[in-house]
């Protein structure tokens, strides 16, 4: 059986492969999908005439201004989060799903994790201007997609730390 290198000796690629096998990675993806469902649910429930849809919307008030004019309106009702926040949540969820399928790219970004800040530049520029919802959504998505690699790396770290190396007593 192939012996895994010790945690400190493992490259980001090794670590990342470990995270892909972890059920925690699937759990994270499920949590992200659940979060997205909460963003969309109030609009769908309100369109269906459910009277307490606003209670679900309230969940997001600490983290989003929720101004209807700055939100998407599927079925004529605003989402629980603004277009930029929705973009960030969608981008993060896509990242959690996609990074395990892109191991080479993930390993490159994991070697230079500060590059995630570059992807946030469009968002910070966009904040200073009055732009439309699609652009706010897009900049949020671009900013959050690379960030999704970080929790996967944390899972990889923790998975690797618990994996026996073979040279332990």
């Amino acid at each position: 059986m192939e012996q895994l290198p010790r945690v400190a000796e493992r490259s980001p690629k090794h670590l990342f492969h470990a995270s892909m096998r972890s059920p925690w990675a699937y759990g994270l993806l499920l949590a992200c999908l659940g979060w997205l469902a909460l963003v969309f649910a109030p609009a769908l429930f309100a369109a269906a005439g459910w009277p307490h849809a606003d209670m679900l919307r309230w969940l997001f008030h600490p983290v989003c201004h929720q101004i209807p004019a700055r939100s998407f309106h599927p079925l004529g009702e605003p989402l629980a989060a603004c277009a930029r926040c929705t973009g960030m949540y969608v981008g993060f969820t896509l990242g959690v799903a996609a990074w395990p399928q892109l191991p080479r790219l993930a390993a490159k970004l994991a070697k230079r994790p500060r590059w995630i800040l570059v992807f946030m530049v469009p968002l910070f520029v966009d904040v200073m201007f009055e732009t439309g919802a699609p652009i706010r959504f897009a900049t949020g998505l671009v900013a959050a997609f690379p960030c999704a690699l970080l929790p996967l790396m944390a899972i990889a770290d923790l998975t690797a730390a618990r994996t026996p190396t073979g040279d332990d007593p």
Partner: protein, 163 residues
Amino acid sequence: MMNNPKIKSALIGGGVFGVIAALPYIEMLNMLCCALFVGGGVLAVYFYLKEQTAPLGSPYGDGALIGMMAGVIGGIVTTFVGAVLMALGLAPDWADTAAVLAELESLGVEIPGVAGEATTQEHVEEAILGMELVMNIVMFGIFATIGGLVGMAIFHKKDESAE
């Protein structure tokens, strides 16, 4: 407990940003991509790494843990500091908020329904405070965890020999 560098850093990051997030008007910075919640995690990791001299075994695992602890502490701090400021009259209470919302509405600004409802009901302060506490702990916890990870990505100097 204070000798544990992770807890110490989480207390600093969560405490500082918890207070900032409770300050009237400044709290609105959270509307900018949850900047204050994420900032609590980033600050906690910054202080943690400042005190660490030995290479970290699992940097991102530590970053997530420290961020989450900072978030829980920040959520508790921001709720109670907010409640104290409101009780002292240094922050807008529900009646003030309702008045501001009514004025905004008269200017043609569309107000989300739940915001209006929450400020027009009487005797809801205690219930809202309890819900705010849970909500702040959960939200601060989630976003500060991401902040801790981002902080680790920014400030962690990798041991190149391990590559």
